[in-house]
């Protein structure tokens, strides 16, 4: 069956993997890492490989480079690059191909660049080595390529050492290096995982552009379905060393057939998922160990549609999906499983009613001073304003998400709250207790028990030297509520039950647990003393997708039963939309916007929220995102912009105002607050970033449905559905829609008039304002793709006037 994949005559494929088997050799045995892998990559095509850790996706990439290391080997099948088997090439040939015809971009840009060499020289080496050009020409080419990957000021970057530029810039430089010799094939192994969301969006954009501009074929490896959906044409879903589903992005994302693929999709918070009405469904069980894979379908033991005698029969092949060319899935019960029925068994939960205010933070401020002793005892004192004017409240049983990228001060805030640091000014009240100035050593056991934390990194959250049960028991002993060892042991068992782990895990050491299990222990430890407030610092971001869902659900279940307040710190807006009741958006130590989840995810937006929303990859092909790509990088916290911290990257920046005066806080009622210089009606008139296309068949031009489109714009995003903030515009290209708005009655010009405090409805705009907005938005977008639309918009305006 597999031979039939993409069976088209015509151009020769760039890369073809045929029945590829790769094994690693360990001390004791051979471990098959990849079995029976097939792939056909045509020129200019982008192919995504998605899967959880340990599924063999990176192994495939290394095999393509023939760089498996000493203990790995291709044990069967072939990898044909331009028709020649890579495994049969000599080291010399491989050296010539690597870097010139096949290039690879890794996850960590800093470790791909030589820290002791200027960027320019590292780049120039590529053409000098592979094409024997002169250094001068190589330098010229390198500089041009740096401009091609849209690095500002390529000259400066050429002369910089890697540590002198930011992570996003480093990754762009690495991509430039990979493209310098115009490779036929570009391997991208999680190229944006180490980067912040808004920076990631820029790189993703660049990657999309590359295949168009240079005709490079790409293999994009990621654990993130959303990223694959945005960048690739085809996708291979891998599970336990096998490809389980292959097909066009559109086919697989809209009608996935393999139970594992389906499991993946139901465990990620897609738009429309809701913690009460439509909770996530995690995949039960665990990834089988490579040397203990079940016979037949490797997913069998975790599959709800498992049928003994059929699913566990060895020799399971890819099955073609009827009527969809190029779509395959490795499942014998492909057309039999009734997924609709399975989905309906899930019971919706009742929404939680939040209680009284538990945590009240008022004008909290945290500054760090850095003292540098200069020569002659001159002191250079600099201040890092890690937190400024942090004001918000959290109520009982409520989940408040604190969202922001690295360096936004969310972790500093957690430290102050937990008592590891003291606030410079302002107050933090937990109930009636003031905690801002009280270090953890001065808090009594009762207060400490009330306030606990779940950490991000499962490998660091537990002490590797002590048994899991002992670590939980220590917490109980510390809090002093359970006087005897027997009572504590009982409570440990009870807690293990709560986090759904077997009781004999108490004796285990952390390294005998998987990442998800460690995180469960971390949760058990945090909830051991029945806390009132739990700070969860990205508790699932380091876990695999299918485990994420289970841990998220567990956390929420415990929170629900204990009516605990949760501060959920995250950079992932998809998760936040799914589980948060209220959201606080932070940037460079300041709160940019706060409000209920619904309010944050629908207009009016703070420009930064708008960019964040647009940056989050969404694994749903029906979703249309308005593109807002930020230019520039996060400013250093040592030297933040004077006025609004976002002013250096804001597409709406008002020169002379935003960069000098701190922004006023505009209130929209119900606690929704935006700190921005833009007038309230301009904020309100923003279009929703995420829109759901109801049906693909509907015409896409705005002219066909002007009434609908205009209605959606005028109401500021057509009735956002609860907690998702997704408005449904029937297939309308929003940009064109705004230009074609019918004229509306014009109110007196709004500039200078006081803004009503409770501005829930957007005010109508004048034609001129609408045109300016449309153009601004277009300018913020990628120029290459939208000049045409801009022209249309302008034409439409002219016609109207």
């Amino acid at each position: 069956m597999t031979k039939g994949i993409a069976d088209v005559s015509g151009p020769q494929p760039v890369l073809e993997c045929r029945n590829l088997h790769i094994s690693y050799y360990t001390r004791s045995s051979e471990v098959p890492a990849v079995t029976g892998f097939n792939l056909k990559l045509m020129p200019g095509e982008a192919h995504g490989i998605v899967g959880e850790s340990g599924c063999g996706k990176s192994t495939v990439a290394f095999a393509i480079m023939n760089y498996l290391g000493k203990n790995g080997a291709i044990v069967g099948g072939e990898i044909l690059f331009e028709g020649r088997d890579i495994a049969k090439m000599s080291q010399d040939e491989l050296r010539r191909i690597r870097g010139s015809k096949i290039a690879m971009v890794y996850q960590e840009p800093m470790s791909s660049l030589n820290p002791a060499m200027r960027i320019g020289r590292q780049l120039a080496e590529v053409p000098v080595y592979h094409e024997n050009v002169s250094w001068e020409e190589a330098y010229n080419r390198s500089e041009a390529m740096l401009a091609n990957v849209r690095l500002p000021d390529p000259k400066r970057i050429m002369d910089a050492y890697p540590h002198q530029i930011s992570g996003g810039q480093q990754q762009r430089a690495v991509i430039a290096m990979a493209l310098l010799s115009n490779p036929k094939l570009l391997l991208l192994d999680e190229p944006t995982t180490a980067l912040d969301v808004t920076v990631e969006a820029g790189i993703v954009d660049l990657i999309k552009e590359i295949s168009k501009k240079f005709g490079t074929s790409m293999i994009y490896i990621s654990h993130n379905l959303g990223l694959i959906a945005e960048t690739c044409d085809r996708i291979t879903v891998m599970y336990s060393g096998q490809a389980v589903e292959v097909g066009k992005i559109r086919d697989v994302f809209a009608h996935m057939h393999h139970p594992y693929t389906r499991g993946l999709f139901s465990s990620i918070p897609l738009p429309g998922a809701d913690k009460n009405a439509r909770p996530l469904i995690s995949i039960p069980g665990q990834l089988p160990l490579p040397y203990a894979r079940p016979p037949g379908c490797t997913f069998g033991p975790r599959c709800s549609g498992f049928q003994a005698g059929r699913c566990d029969k060895p020799g399971l092949e890819m099955q073609a999906i009827a009527n969809v060319p190029g779509h395959f899935a490795r499942c014998v019960r492909l057309n039999e499983i009734d997924w609709e029925a399975a989905a309906k068994t899930h019971k919706p939960r009742a929404p939680i009613e939040p209680g009284p205010v538990v945590l009240r933070v008022a004008d909290m401020q945290k500054h760090y001073t850095i003292e540098k002793m200069g020569v002659f005892f001159s002191k250079d004192v600099r201040k890092i304003k890690a937190n400024e004017q942090i004001t918000f409240e959290a109520r009982e049983a409520e989940t408040v998400a604190i969202v922001g990228e690295s360096g936004c001060g969310k972790s500093t805030f957690a430290k102050v709250l937990m008592g590891l640091e003291q606030a410079t000014a302002g107050t933090i009240h937990l109930g009636n207790l003031e905690l801002g100035q009280v270090p953890v050593g001065d808090r009594d056991a009762g207060t400490i028990a009330k306030l606990q934390m779940v950490f991000q990194n499962p490998f660091e959250t537990l002490n590797p030297s002590h048994s899991v049960g002992g670590q939980i028991a220590r917490v109980l002993k510390r809090f002093g509520t359970l006087p005897t060892a027997k009572l504590r042991r009982d409570r440990v068992n009870e807690l293990l039950d709560i986090v759904k782990l077997p009781r004999d895990f108490a004796k285990r050491l952390p390294r005998q647990l998987s990442g998800g299990q460690k995180q469960r222990i971390g949760i058990a430890r945090a909830f051991a003393g029945n806390p009132k407030l739990v700070v969860a610092d990205e508790p699932v971001s380091a876990l695999d997708v299918s485990v994420q869902a289970a841990v998220t659900e567990l956390l929420m279940d415990i929170q629900r039963t204990n009516r605990t307040t949760m501060l959920f710190i995250s950079h992932d807006l998809s998760v936040v939309r799914y589980l948060a009741d209220r959201v606080v958006v932070m940037y460079l130590g300041r709160i940019m916007e706060q409000g209920t989840t619904e309010e944050i995810f629908s207009p009016p937006y703070h420009p930064y929220t708008e960019a964040l929303l647009s940056a989050v990859p969404i694994a749903d092909v029906r979703v249309h995102k308005r593109k807002v790509v930020l230019s520039g990088e996060l400013p250093s916290a040592l030297n933040p912009p004077k006025g609004c911290p976002f002013s250096t990257r804001c597409p709406y920046v008002i020169k002379g105002t935003c960069d000098t005066i701190p922004p006023p806080v505009r209130l929209f009622g119900n606690g929704h607050a935006i700190a921005c210089h833009l007038e309230a009606q301009q904020l309100t008139s923003m279009l929703p970033v995420i829109t759901m296309r109801e049906s693909e068949a509907k015409p896409k031009s705005a002219g066909a449905a002007p009434a609908d489109a205009s209605a959606s714009v005028a109401s500021g995003g057509a009735a956002p559905s609860r907690a998702t903030g997704i408005s449904t515009t029937p297939g309308a290209a929003n940009v064109a829609a705004i230009a074609k708005l019918p004229p509306v009655p014009q109110p007196p010009h709004m500039n200078g008039t006081p803004v009503p405090a409770n501005l829930r409805k957007p005010l109508p705009l004048t034609d001129a304002e609408r045109a300016r907005l449309a153009l601004e938005r277009l300018q913020a977008n990628d120029a290459s793709s939208s000049t045409e639309q801009a022209q249309q918009a302008l034409d439409a305006l002219k016609n109207q006037s």
Binding site: S28, M418, A445, E460, P464
Partner: protein
């Protein structure tokens, strides 16, 4: 970097032995480590059984056999310049090395760990003072320092231990400090702080056990260095008092014969000393190798 590597749940090997023993036995994974362990084990057995296995009293002068006799059937390694049996002296000598070297190393570690933990965990002026004191000690020529200490306080086993502790502890402190600086940033340390654990608890229970990997490797190496140090002190005549059989002293005593070309008397203790040191080094390499594997 844990030293032992027990496979995760459902692994292929099931542990029947107690944890510590099976972790020690993991040294078999490394061939050089196994060789090192066997050498060290050999000397430990020799030291333990010397009173019964040694053919002669190590301090008895066998004048009927003769001074500086070559190896023979009765005296396998010959006799020394005072007609004492070299084999017996080496066997008894191993007891001294293998008592003093571990004791001195352990003492050096105890002091060094305390200094390193305090410096690394509390940072600030405390760190500065401890590290500057360490730097001063480290900047002295080690050998000169040893000789000064031994001459000043007189040669005895206790003083050797004190001298080794004085000189080794700054080096251990640096190692522990660098480990502590790294480990204090871990989330489990933050979690301990957040439940209000006192500093000593965090240092001893949360941090120290996780620094044990590099410390064990370094400890094996240091054991070897200490053995050399004891030998060198003996050779310089500031070690243990004669007539106790001290390997370094044995080499020194035959010095004049060595110049005359009769090397067998010096060769035996030299080989004994270097084999023990090599054994410890190989063991250290092996432990490092096993701990890096997974």
């Amino acid at each position: 970097m844990a030293v032992e590597t027990i496979p995760a749940s459902g692994g292929r090997r099931t542990a029947i032995l107690p944890g510590w023993l099976s972790s020690i036995l993991l040294i078999r994974e490394s061939s050089i480590g196994t060789v090192g362990a066997l050498i060290v084990l050999f000397w430990v057995l020799v030291a333990l059984t010397a009173p019964w296995l040694a053919p002669y009293d190590p301090n008895k002068n066998l004048y009927d056999i003769g001074v500086a006799a070559l190896p023979s059937a009765t005296n396998w390694l010959g006799t020394d310049e005072q007609a004492r049996d070299i084999l017996s002296r080496i066997m008894w000598g191993s007891r001294i090395v293998l008592t003093i070297a571990p004791l001195a190393t352990v003492c050096g570690y105890a002091v060094g760990i305390v200094m390193g933990l305090l410096a690394g965990y509390y940072r600030g002026w405390f760190d500065t003072i401890i590290m500057q004191v360490c730097n001063v000690i480290l900047s002295f020529p080690v050998l000169v320092l040893y000789v000064i200490i031994m001459i000043k306080f007189g040669p005895s086993a206790l003083n050797i231990i004190a001298a080794v502790t004085f000189i080794a502890s700054p080096q251990v402190a640096r190692l522990v400090r660098s480990q502590t600086l790294e480990l204090r940033e871990k989330d489990y340390v933050a979690a301990a702080k957040m439940r209000g654990e006192p500093g000593w608890y965090i240092m001893l229970v949360e941090i120290l056990p996780n620094a044990r990997g590099p410390l064990i490797v370094d400890g094996c190496l240091r054991m070897g260095y200490t053995a050399i140090t004891i030998g060198v002190l003996g050779f310089l005549g500031v070690g243990l008092r004669p007539p106790d059989p001290d390997w370094g002293g044995m080499i020194r005593d035959t010095y004049s014969y060595l110049l005359g070309g009769q090397i067998h008397m010096a060769l035996a203790p030299a080989i004994a000393l270097s084999s023990l040191v090599v054994g410890f080094s190989l063991l250290a390499d092996g432990v490092r190798e096993v701990s890096l594997k997974d």
